[in-house]
Structures are given as structure tokens and as C-alpha cells.
């Protein structure tokens, strides 16, 4: 891998940008690897990278049915945060935020992590009390959090609705200053380039059709490019986790839904933080190109169709018009849907699948992007050691049997 640097940028700029070369290879798959990762999104590529970097396992294949980062990694709203209520979740997601903080240097690829703050609004006095509770919980979890009153929110984001007749008046909010946004594609490409440089084979346009099982142990996959055997397997396929589970013969407590997002036409700077209104479920940030990146709640209908529908669009965009009436006439540039894997407690599943030799990283629901470094780190740890890291242990699949749920949906009252 040739290193990206300011010097290199200058040299290539002066010589017609002809010397960059490919960022990663497109190898034909070998018959066998030490480890196979199914899914070439952020989580899968990060898993491969940490297998090589942390555990010295470089004879690894990442198998992707489409193109890299073409699923939810390319379909999210790029928010990175760890403002969680329970200690288990805070430990997991803040591990991810800390990895993100050093990721551009680590990967030698600019993932454009901009720590512009993640602000959650409160619209009434009771909501302010809950905001204080959230703020205190976050601080007890070792996270950065500040409780803001109405004037402080107004200084931070004057574009919000401070009119006297607002349906949801702003009473204040909680901000996590270390939260922010990243460049979604760069996260996938950065991990891919760094993993490839460590010798990992990234195989695109190769669909897993079945698992190869011998004596109860998963020993490989049948793909559209033939059989590939692996010493240990990991699956990080988000919304399609249940489809793989059916092939592998294990059960998952997952329901797949579409999650929609929107980008507006480019505007002059109006908002330099990420704002979420729990009342409307709408959240918004402004990208470096000026477009408003708008997200909201889950669809109402279980779905594998990667597209949107009108009722949820009305809710999300109505929420935006309420939050920021000045932006009500902004035009949308595009909108899309991704398929997210939602668990009963809105917390992820990291751990053994129930089939020997096959480990899972799924169930992130609506919040997988911010967790990419941690998801990859802990799946790699499991695949290399066959045992949990302390931080990933509470997220084992067995929690649905023991009842030790990490119920973040109940803790926050909003979908994560």
C-alpha cells in the first residue's frame, strides 16, 4: 500500500493524478482460508482488518454479494455517538467512538470524523428532568455530556424553532460534544484498503448460497464463485442476517425493517451540530457539501425492500418543518431506504451463532454505522480467541434466554 500524505497529494496533483493506483486488489478466491468474513460492509471489512492487525490472522477472505459498503454502510445518516443510558451500551459504543477518533491515522485514510456534537432536545419541563437523568447516566458511564437550557441551545442552533406558537417548544437539551458525523463510504474504503494491504482477500460480487457443515461444525461457504473453506467464520450482514440464519440453521430474534433517510439540496451553513427531536423522531445534520442529512424513525412494516414509503416520509419531513420552520421549503435531492436488523431490546448481537465455528455481528438496528470499529474489533476477537471480550459479553445471543436484555429502546424512548 502506498501511503497517502500531503506530499503525495502535491506530487500527484502536479503529475496529472496518474500514479495513485488501485486502493485494493480484486483477487480470485482461494479454495481455503484461515478465516472467512461474510459481508463486505463496514463491520465485515473492520472485522478483517482487526483480525490481521490485532491477531495476526492475515489469510482471510471477505465475501460480499454486491459491492463494498453498498448496503447500510452506504445508506445511513453518518452519525457517530455514544450517548447511551446503560453502562454495557455506553462501554460498547464509546469504545467505537474512541476508535473512530484515531481511525483516519490508523487507516491512513481520511474518514472525516467531525466531532460537532450530538444534541438531543427536550420539549417540556418533564422532558428536561428526563434529559437531566440521561445526562447524569452518561456521566456516570464515563461519557461527556452537558445539560443545556433554552438559551444555550439557541446560541448553538438558532435555526431551531423558538417561536411562541411552536408545537414542540425547545426547553433545553443534552449534548454529547464528542459525537458528530463521519464520511460513510470512506469508512468502508479505508478499512478495505488497510485490510488489503495486510494481505486480506476482498471478494466482491460473490454471493453466499449456503454454509458447508461437517460434524456439526461450520467449515466454509458455498458461493456463486464455488466452495470456499474457512477455519472460522464470521457473519456481518445486517438486514439479511435472518436469511443467513435460515441457511445456517440457527435462530435469531431479528425483524428486518426499512429505515429511510433524505438529503436536501446544498444550502449555506445553517447548522453545525447534529440535532435530534425525540418528539418528532426527526434528526438532522448538515454535510460538508451543504446538504441537510435527515433521518427519522423506523418504517411501520417489516421489509426487505430497499426503498421508502409515503407515511414515514410525511412524519420525518413534517418533523423537520416543525423543528426548523425556516427550512420547510427546502427541496430534497434524494432519498433512500436501507434494511436494518432490529432486535427486541434494540441492542446488537455479538457472539457465537449456536453453530460451531460461526460467529455473529448483527442486530445493530438503526445504529450500525457508529459501531463499525467496535463491531469489527469484537467479532475479530471472538473469531481469533473463540471467547468474548469483556465489553461484548453482555451482547451474546443467550441474553434472550437468560432475560439479561440491554433494553436501550425502553431506556431512551426513541429507536436507536
Amino acid at each position: 500500500m502506498s501511503k497517502y500524505s500531503m506530499f503525495r497529494l502535491l506530487r500527484e496533483g502536479l503529475t496529472g493524478n496518474r500514479g495513485w493506483g488501485q486502493a485494493w486488489r480484486s483477487p480470485t478466491p482461494k479454495a481455503a482460508y484461515d478465516a472467512i468474513v461474510v459481508g463486505g460492509g463496514g463491520h465485515g471489512l473492520a472485522t478483517a482488518y482487526y483480525l490481521a492487525k490485532n491477531h495476526g490472522i492475515t489469510n482471510v477472505a471477505v465475501i460480499e454479494k454486491g459491492w463494498l459498503g453498498g448496503g447500510n454502510t452506504g445508506r445511513n445518516t453518518t452519525v457517530i455517538r455514544s450517548n447511551y443510558f446503560y453502562p454495557e451500551s455506553a462501554a460498547l459504543y464509546d469504545f467505537s467512538v474512541r476508535l473512530y477518533e484515531g481511525l483516519s491515522q490508523d487507516l491512513n485514510y481520511n474518514v472525516m470524523f467531525s466531532q460537532r456534537g450530538m444534541l438531543m432536545l427536550a420539549h417540556s419541563e418533564p422532558e428536561m428532568e428526563m434529559a437531566a437523568r440521561q445526562c447524569n447516566a452518561m456521566r456516570l458511564n464515563g461519557l461527556d455530556a452537558e445539560l443545556l437550557d433554552r438559551d444555550q441551545v439557541r446560541r448553538l442552533a438558532p435555526v431551531l424553532n423558538f417561536r411562541d406558537d411552536a408545537r414542540y417548544p425547545v426547553h433545553g437539551g443534552v449534548i454529547q460534544p464528542r459525537g458528530g458525523t463521519g464520511r460513510h463510504d470512506a469508512v468502508a474504503w479505508g478499512y478495505a484498503r488497510a485490510a488489503d494491504a495486510l494481505g486480506i482477500d476482498i471478494i466482491q460480487n460473490c454471493e453466499v448460497l449456503d454454509f458447508i457443515t461437517e460434524a456439526g461444525r461450520c467449515v466454509g461457504v458455498t458461493t456463486s464463485l464455488g466452495d470456499i473453506r474457512g477455519g472460522v467464520l464470521g457473519a456481518a450482514v445486517a438486514g439479511h442476517s435472518s436469511v443467513l440464519a435460515q441457511l445456517g440453521g440457527y435462530d435469531l430474534p431479528i425483524t428486518s425493517y426499512a429505515l429511510q433517510a433524505f438529503v436536501s439540496e446544498p444550502l449555506k451553513p445553517v447548522l453545525d451540530t447534529v440535532v435530534l427531536s425525540p418528539a418528532t423522531g426527526t434528526y438532522v445534520s448538515q454535510s460538508d457539501k451543504g446538504g441537510l442529512v435527515i433521518g427519522g424513525g423506523l418504517d411501520r412494516v417489516p421489509s426487505y425492500g430497499q426503498n421508502g414509503n409515503m407515511p414515514v416520509q410525511e412524519t420525518v419531513l413534517g418533523g423537520l418543518a416543525e423543528m426548523m420552520p425556516a427550512l420547510a421549503k427546502v427541496k430534497l435531492l434524494r432519498h433512500w431506504g436501507g434494511i436494518v436488523d432490529v432486535t427486541p431490546d434494540s441492542s446488537p448481537i455479538i457472539g457465537p451463532s449456536g453453530v460451531e465455528g460461526l460467529y455473529l455481528n448483527c442486530g445493530w438496528g438503526t445504529g450500525g454505522f457508529k459501531a463499525i470499529p467496535a463491531g469489527g474489533y469484537f467479532l475479530a476477537h471472538l473469531m481469533a480467541n473463540g471467547a468474548h471480550h469483556e465489553i461484548s459479553r453482555p451482547f451474546d445471543l443467550t441474553r434472550f434466554e437468560t432475560g439479561m436484555l440491554v433494553d436501550e429502546s425502553a431506556a431512551s424512548g426513541i429507536p436507536h
Binding site: D251, S256, Y304, G305
Partner: protein, 88 residues
């Protein structure tokens, strides 16, 4: 905007309907001992199929439950039937 057909009220706007559960799940016999694993399977495990699915929905306007067949990829509705045996 999609139209779903309530077996009792006829074609209505999709926003009048609420997804309840996958069809065909049977509650374990609670007069017999039930293992944690069986109970967890009943509570949490989902088939979550890609393609044709069979689900229980509620038409919130008339508050009746019914079965809907649809395609989870194309979102096409393939049919709806009352849960009541006599179809009334």
C-alpha cells in the same frame, strides 16, 4: 400510499393498519413445564423471511385482527383473510 384490504371493512389506507406478529406462532402449553429456551423461542425468535410472508395485522379502525399474505421485498399485498373460522 399503499392500500391494504381489511376482510371486514374493505380497502383502506395503509396508515390505518398495524403489524402485530408473524402468523403461525403457537404459545407453549403453560400447564406443562416450559424450558427457558422454549419460552425464549416463543417470545423472541422470528422467521423474518425474505419474499412471501404470512402475518397477523390489526385494522386499528375496526380493531379486528386478520391474516395478511404479502411479499416482504416488493411490498405487494397477496391476500387478506379473517382470523375467525367462519369468516364473518
Amino acid at each position: 400510499m399503499q392500500v391494504f384490504t381489511c376482510p371486514f371493512c374493505g380497502p383502506r389506507n395503509e396508515t390505518e393498519f398495524h403489524f402485530v406478529a408473524e402468523a403461525g406462532k403457537v404459545r407453549p402449553d403453560t400447564t406443562q413445564p416450559i424450558s427457558d429456551a422454549e419460552w425464549a423461542t416463543y417470545l423472541h425468535t422470528q422467521r423474518n423471511e425474505k419474499g412471501p410472508v404470512r402475518e397477523v395485522w390489526m385494522h386499528t379502525t375496526c380493531a379486528e385482527l386478520f391474516v395478511m399474505q404479502r411479499d416482504s421485498v416488493t411490498m405487494a399485498v397477496l391476500g387478506t383473510q379473517a382470523l375467525r373460522k367462519d369468516g364473518s
